[in-house]
């Protein structure tokens, strides 16, 4: 895409009430727009990152047999009353409203109740199990405060998966598979080295749940990490007793600030019993279905990645999720430069290599600053000098080495890269 056609612009200023680094950077670079506190729109560049993250998650969820669907935002009161989560005293983040006939409705902040109720229409026999379903859903949560940018928003995109199993053993197998799938997701989007399985608070059925915590100063959690074993404990459950149970050595643990980018949770048969989801086993007996719940914060990941990789010049995108691969900057206003840049733009576009083409009539320094702020993996510069030399100037966003490449070298480098 040509920057003269992209409607967004980079900006040096952000809304006065925006204190989170992730949102500040993403607003300046034109990736998101702040609608109100904790509510952000995704502009073209931001939406591309979101879609790239979603696609990686989708591939990994499909690989373990997940079936994608899409539940509704509008929620029925009666379902949530069955699990005692309708009352504002019990769940304090509901948005609620009323239908014209006076019926109360809620706006989905989670979908366990709704999806489990629905499964009563599709599960009756042991033959129907096990399976997993997932969705990418916009969740609405009426947070008292929203001050961490897109790390804790009132409206955010989440991938939530639900597994339905016959037995605890069957459930555990799916749970373990999904743990691995989650680690693959975080590795593919560039956070593999800083994201750790973390023991956290469980519930009535299970002593622990598992979080996936990414080390970042922007986080709201504190974890104790055994880096060698790649295992952590959330401060919420941190105690000598727990460390002993998990076989962790207190002296080896690092205390770190982290952001929860995913979590997985065993519900056992608790919700199934509350909502009445049973199956007939081979011997004819009625048994409650075993439920697991598995979340990834998609829009939160956008913020965590923005904040984690950024340097003092701006954003730095891992190639697998970058909104485009190449920032092509044509310097000066000579016709020769324009001709060469237009030509390279066509060649790369035809080759399916995504790029932003900075064809604006502004100073080179401004183009370099925007290239750094927007943070695409590779920058290619065309100037009078490169045209005279028959070369292209090449630089990676993550270092300052500038190389002069001929066309073959350039194309071969770009086709060898991952995106």
């Amino acid at each position: 895409m040509k920057l003269t056609e992209l409607f967004t612009k980079t900006s040096k200023t952000v809304p006065a009430d925006e204190t989170a680094k992730n949102a500040q950077l993403l607003i300046k670079a034109g990736f998101i727009y702040k609608e109100m506190a904790g509510v952000y729109a995704y502009l073209p560049l931001g939406l591309r990152v979101i879609e790239n993250i979603k696609q990686i998650i989708r591939e990994e969820m499909n690989a373990v047999g997940g079936q994608e669907l899409l539940m509704t935002t509008l929620q029925r009161q009666e379902l949530w009353e069955k699990t005692d989560r309708w009352d504002d005293q019990k769940v304090d983040i509901w948005f609620k409203s009323k239908l014209k006939n006076g019926t109360d409705v809620g706006f989905g902040w989670s979908h366990e109740e709704q999806i489990t109720e629905m499964m009563k229409s599709y599960i009756s026999s042991y033959r129907d199990l096990p399976f997993s379903v997932y969705q990418f859903q916009t969740k609405l949560r009426n947070e008292l405060r929203a001050k961490s940018g897109i790390l804790r928003s009132r409206e955010f995109i989440m991938k939530d998966l639900y597994s339905y199993s016959r037995t605890q053993e069957e459930h555990q197998k799916i749970y373990d598979e999904l743990t691995k799938a989650y680690l693959k997701v975080f590795a593919r989007i560039g956070l593999g080295d800083v994201t750790f399985v973390t023991y956290a608070a469980g519930g009535p059925f299970t002593p622990y749940s598992h979080e996936f915590q990414t080390i970042t100063d922007a986080g709201e959690d504190t974890i104790y990490l055994d880096r060698e074993r790649k295992l952590a404990v959330n401060q919420d459950v941190y105690s000598d007793e727990v460390l002993t149970q998990l076989g962790l050595d207190k002296t080896k643990l690092e205390k770190l600030v982290a952001a929860e980018v995913g979590n997985i949770f065993s519900f056992g048969d608790v919700k199934s019993k509350q909502l009445g989801l049973y199956y007939a086993d081979q011997d004819g007996t009625e048994k409650p279905v075993i439920l697991g719940s598995y979340g990834i914060g998609v829009s939160r990941l956008l913020g965590v990645i923005a904040e984690h990789f950024a340097d003092d010049k701006g954003l730095v995108w891992p190639e697998s999720i970058a909104p485009a691969k190449v920032y092509l900057a044509a310097l000066g206003d000579s016709e020769e430069v324009k001709k060469h840049a237009d030509e390279l733009y066509s060649i790369l576009t035809d080759a399916g290599i995504s790029l932003l083409y900075d064809n604006r009539n502004i100073r080179p320094g401004e183009k370099f600053a925007d290239a750094d702020l927007i943070g695409l993996p590779y920058r290619v510069v065309i100037s009078n000098q490169t045209v005279a030399n028959g070369t292209y100037e090449w630089k990676e966003r993550t270092n300052n080495n500038i190389k002069q490449l001929n066309r073959d070298e350039l194309l071969s480098l770009l086709s060898a890269t991952k995106n």
Copy 2:
């Protein structure tokens, strides 16, 4: 996908309060689930159709330069007060709630106000214009009644595009381009022959808006169609005066029931003036931006298509949007049949041909009934007889001709088809 793995099942019954044919069929075939009146979840097969429709729309919007973004569901009261559309007396379909601090918020039933307000951050000069942006958004509308299935829901998916232009002439050019793009969309999804540009009520700035009306008994509109000129007039504005203005001959018009699947609308400078969206022209004068608004009902299309093509046996999907291309049915329980069917499933899957593989242990008649109900374009049957003959039984959903094909013929037919 194998049907033994798909969690949904076909059903002979539907909720007692479901009177719309489109929703009845889609529920029976396992494409949607009714959450409450006018609120439906999309199950895997239904979501695939939705995504296929979205992708066709996306391609056509991108082809005319549309930039995809995603606005928020949560809406600020003050914006809508500026255009006098916050008051429930003025707009009677709002869902509203409150933030924890008592601030009123609305849930997006439209996004013109929000997106136009946002553009004040990105439009200042004539150099910034023209451009178009669009989104696929879940809209929430508190309808008094919801009785047309997914043709008029309280929660539905819409593509909305907004164009920003400097002059009326520039706007008209985009408006005409989008009219053509819309006709391409409806042609590609199979409704080209029954969808017509229809003159409808305008507003303060324009005598008419244009609707895209699809002829179907499920519709809620009445139109008068000149089939030869492929132009219609909505009953709302039908009068001798209007016919004269549009040069339509009353005696040539057919009175028909139709569903509005799209609409395009010129706002002129009305909204820009209300919200304060101005640009500096070349001569330095401040001028209001000219706004156009262009909608397509994505989930409504799912319903219209379901209802339009269905026959007495079930759904019939146009190939371009079908949830899969082939329904592969293995008959009987012989190992030979299973081996051949498994093998064909692998071959087609590897070739990237989407299919549902009915490997369930049920009677042939049930498989045929489900194949018809689900409505994929092609049915391939493998039985003891076809194995003995070295053939595959082939049938298209739209006719009753059964052919015996050898493998080369089958693969060549499938790779020649469009999807």
